[in-house]
């Protein structure tokens, strides 16, 4: 991980006049998808890079130790060994970036990864995920317990009430406290953008989250009606860039929710490269929150290596 973002004082003046023009953002999003593409070996290499940025995620009511166990092993072996070998990539340490689970499953995941001999971090969602409609005390306590259980990354979710009622100071204070509760664990701040009402609010919430010391800002819980869309991503990475220009601190970005295809993953990588530069193409500053994305990437890699389209049974499920 790169140096952590220490955050700054809350500077509302710098964001109060910002207006995001939605039609212009949407046109830009269409253009990014149309104007850039990678083919052949470049596509395979980019997809492998995407794999290393995945927070392989399960956030379901029916999660149990057994599917957490499977998930962790898939995180360790995201692409079939022989496929990697064909590209001479088998010894390059290709794993996903992390596994991401509910707080109650952190211990299971830590145990499974240890058994697999895998040092990737466990990320836990926290703070009343996904709605954040619990008391601040509970939300803070949840972070502390997840960290005690071995989570090295905490995906906190912000209090949308504070955004929609314009209480930016309150939001800043809450996130500050979350950051303190995280201790050494890296903090990703989920903005739940689908519930913020406007792209301008997305921008402002991004800036406040970074001022409050987030290591990452993340689009969605995956539970909102609208999740990681490219226009939202554009607005958030512009905020990341503005924060970097202003403070010199690099904050990571994590789109999550609804990212299912290899093509989606490439589009997000293109967005990072175009808007923030190559530094933001590595797992310390870029993550993809996803559960089914990996299997599509593996299918594409299979096709790239063998020239055939894979059957369901050709690739091990997570």
């Amino acid at each position: 991980m790169s140096a952590r973002n220490p955050g700054t004082e809350l500077d509302l003046g710098s964001i109060s006049r910002v207006q995001v023009n939605q039609p212009a953002v949407i046109r830009h999003a269409e253009q990014i998808q149309a104007r850039r593409t990678v083919k052949k070996d470049w596509q395979a290499a980019w997809l492998l890079r995407a794999v290393t940025c995945i927070d392989l995620t399960t956030l379901s009511g029916d999660d149990t130790p057994s599917n957490i166990h499977r998930l962790c092993y898939k995180a360790k072996h995201p692409i079939r060994e022989d496929l990697l070998r064909a590209m001479n990539m088998h010894d390059k340490g290709i794993t996903t970036a992390a596994v991401c689970v509910y707080p109650a499953r952190v211990a299971d995941a830590v145990k499974a990864l240890k058994a697999a001999g895998c040092n990737i971090p466990v990320a836990s969602v926290a703070t009343g995920f996904p709605a954040a409609q619990t008391s601040l005390k509970n939300r803070l306590e949840e972070i502390r317990i997840a960290v005690e259980d071995g989570a090295r990354e905490i995906d906190i979710v912000i209090n949308r009430t504070l955004v929609l009622t314009g209480q930016w100071e309150g939001l800043y204070e809450e996130i500050r406290q979350f950051r303190q509760a995280c201790g050494d664990a890296h903090m990703k701040t989920i903005l739940a953008t689908g519930e913020l009402g406007s792209l301008t609010n997305v921008y402002k919430a991004s800036m406040v989250a970074m001022m409050a010391g987030s290591d990452f800002i993340k689009t969605s819980t995956g539970k909102e009606a609208v999740n990681a869309t490219l226009p939202v991503g554009i607005v958030m990475v512009r905020a990341v860039r503005d924060f970097y220009w202003k403070t010199g601190n690099k904050v990571g970005f994590k789109p999550a929710g609804g990212i299912r295809s290899a093509k989606d993953a490439l589009t997000w990588l293109v967005l990072m490269k175009e808007e923030l530069g190559d530094e933001w193409l590595k797992p310390d500053l870029f993550r993809l929150g996803a559960s089914t994305l990996l299997s599509d990437i593996e299918r594409q890699i299979y096709h790239h290596v063998t020239g055939r389209y894979a059957a369901y049974h050709d690739l091990p499920m997570a």
């Binding site: 207006q19 212009a24 104007r35 470049w42 590209m87 390059k92 009606a225």
Partner: protein
Amino acid sequence: MAGAAGGRPSVWGIYSSMEYGPAPEGAGPAQAWLETHGRSFGHFVDGKWLKPEGRETASSTNPATGELLATTLQGAPEDVEAAVQAAAKAFEAWSRLPCHARARHLHNMARTIQKHQRLLALLESLDTGKPIGEARDRDLPLVVRHFYHHTGWAQLMGTEMGGWKPLGEYLAQRVRFPRPVLELCACLWNTVVLLPPPRARLSALLLAELGAQAGLPPGVLNVLTGEGALAGGLAAHPGVDAVALAGSVEVGRSLRRATAGRGPRLSLQLGGDTLAIVFDSADLDGAAVGLSNAVSCQRGPAPGAGALLLVQEAVAGALLQRLRARLGKLRVGDPLDKAMDGGALADEAQRGAIEAYVEEARAEGAEIFQAWAALPARGPFYPPTMITGVATTSRCVREEILGPVLVVLSFRTAKEAVALGNNRPSGLAASVWTENLPLAMEVAQSLHVGTVWINGQNLFDAAAGVGGTKESGNGWDGGKEGLYEYVRPSWQSRPRPGPAELDYKTFAASSGAAPPPVPGHSGVARPELEENMPRVDRTYKLYYGGAQKRPEGMASLPVLDPAGNVLAYVADGSAKDIRNAVEAAHKAAPGWGKRAAHARAQVLYYVAENLELRREEVASRLGALTGAPPKEAQREVDLALERLFHWAAFCDKSGGAVQETPLHGTTLQLRQPLGVVGVACPDERPLLSFLSLLAPAVARGNAVVMVPSSRYPLPALDLCQIFDTSDVPGGVVNIVTGNRDHLSRTLAQHQDVHAMWYFGSPQGSQFVEWASAGNLKRTWVSHGAPRRWEDPAQGAGEEFLYQATQCKNIWIPMGEIFAN
């Protein structure tokens, strides 16, 4: 597979660097098409290939690689003749087809193009160096859209364009794809000879072949290839009824002069880089994206042109920081690569020309930012470039740079932004960036351009025309506004004045004053005596700025009655009087143009009311002047009154429309005043024609400088008192009497007159057209053909409304609602 084999990076290498790789589009289909023609093309005339012997050939090459694609012919005058004859022959049957049949033809053309989109895009990219993505994703869909849109117009022409008919035979000479094609759709009411630009011939030839495949009758669409010089011969050909050109301002001027007085309609779309204005209330990132697109995109309103950016001083630093970041990310290179933002320049000469502007700016102390990293090592490419720290006096600001160059000026206030934006001769398109709605709309209204994009850039659709103002010419493509380029009023036949040898230097250079009878002559009228008291002398003066003025030259001209006796003297106006009148008109025009439509109508009704009061007197004076019997004179006054009502009625009924483009938002068409219009009135029906011309111009918000009939100036002058007492603001109507051609000469040459209407001799018409090349003002001339002013079709048709306004399309995207 480990490591790089033959320079090709390994997966590990790419994984580590995360560079973009090549993404070439296979040129196979285009090469195959070229092969089937043996890479050698003739003209496409009368539905088949025409390859006359003995012509020189020209090579079409891929500008990015120099690879020879094919050879085409350098047309000769005989070829022009063959093409014009084929088109003329085809026009007879084509123009008689029912609307629905022409609609089917256009529809089939659209379908055929749609089937071969990929081929057309590839060929265009190969031949011109334009990125394939742009050709494929933007140009071709727009072309197809234009054909479908105009299929609709072809179907509806009978009902929606009643009172108009096709012109005849059309010459389209256009600079770059897709322009020639867009042009075609609408002008396909006529038959067409297309002369593609020398450096982009192949897609036009393919299109002609597709047209034949789609079943267009032979001769409806003909394509000639040749050097630009061929255009001169074509334009001057008596069989050509209209000429459309998209090209440089200089070519436009020379074509204007070459066709002056010959009668063909001229539709010019000239040069004109994009203007962008960014306010401190803008989404700066949105603006930076839009501007970097404008710089890289070869398909702005003027293909390949750069842009002038005006940025509010308070946010200049923040915007330029974003622009540098973005321009640095643009990719320029192999046009057939799907992931390129910019392709190849036409040739080294173009690069040299761009370089000259940039180096001159550098020498002036400007700061130059260039994204060299984007560039391939070899080939005719130029990096995206931004020039800051220049002033309005710099050549790179005044002139248009054909290349990926953004020139930046800063401004302090919105008023200054508009002033700077309008302080340039071109007027094609502008983008306005602000989140402040009242500001955006006010600036959009105030800019003298044909298209305004609010918080956007380079939005196009067939339903909204593209055209310009000032030196960008006044030709329009697309929308209903574009249709008027291709039609003439049903009652009118094409004027065919004999091409006169006119000495432009001396024509009407003086008023040629003092024809007899002069003082001392026996026919001179003296003040009548009434009971031994002389009547008080009546002196007619000039009328401008809302007051009666004596002429600068202090000279008078006699006005004769039908018997040849002097009825009165009127002022012999001169160039200086015209100058003063134009100045007065300019003072009044902005306020009058902004006056509420209802208020303008009220003024015209008031004029009618006061004219009615003096109906008998005006009629009797008219009779005394022209010799018309009392009944006839009465009728002329009554018709004039009706004309005033007619145009007063139109004050609040033709201000524009909503264009049905695919934009999520509104595309607003405004029909705005031209500004200051010079009007030279005919001798026939002196009162009726004077008011028939004045009323529509004034109703639509223009200020006019009227030159009444030299022979019958009195009815116009009699109206001055009526204007004075009818709340017509001073300067809106100005009247200068004298020698019509002499005064028209000054008006046509005046750089700050926006349009010139001339109803007089063929020679005067020719001069007006020739002189209008100076500022490329709009002209409307009679070529000496009289009209029946009492006929509503001829004296008050839609033509008047069209001539009295100019279009502006404002694109207003919407959208803020998001998710929950």
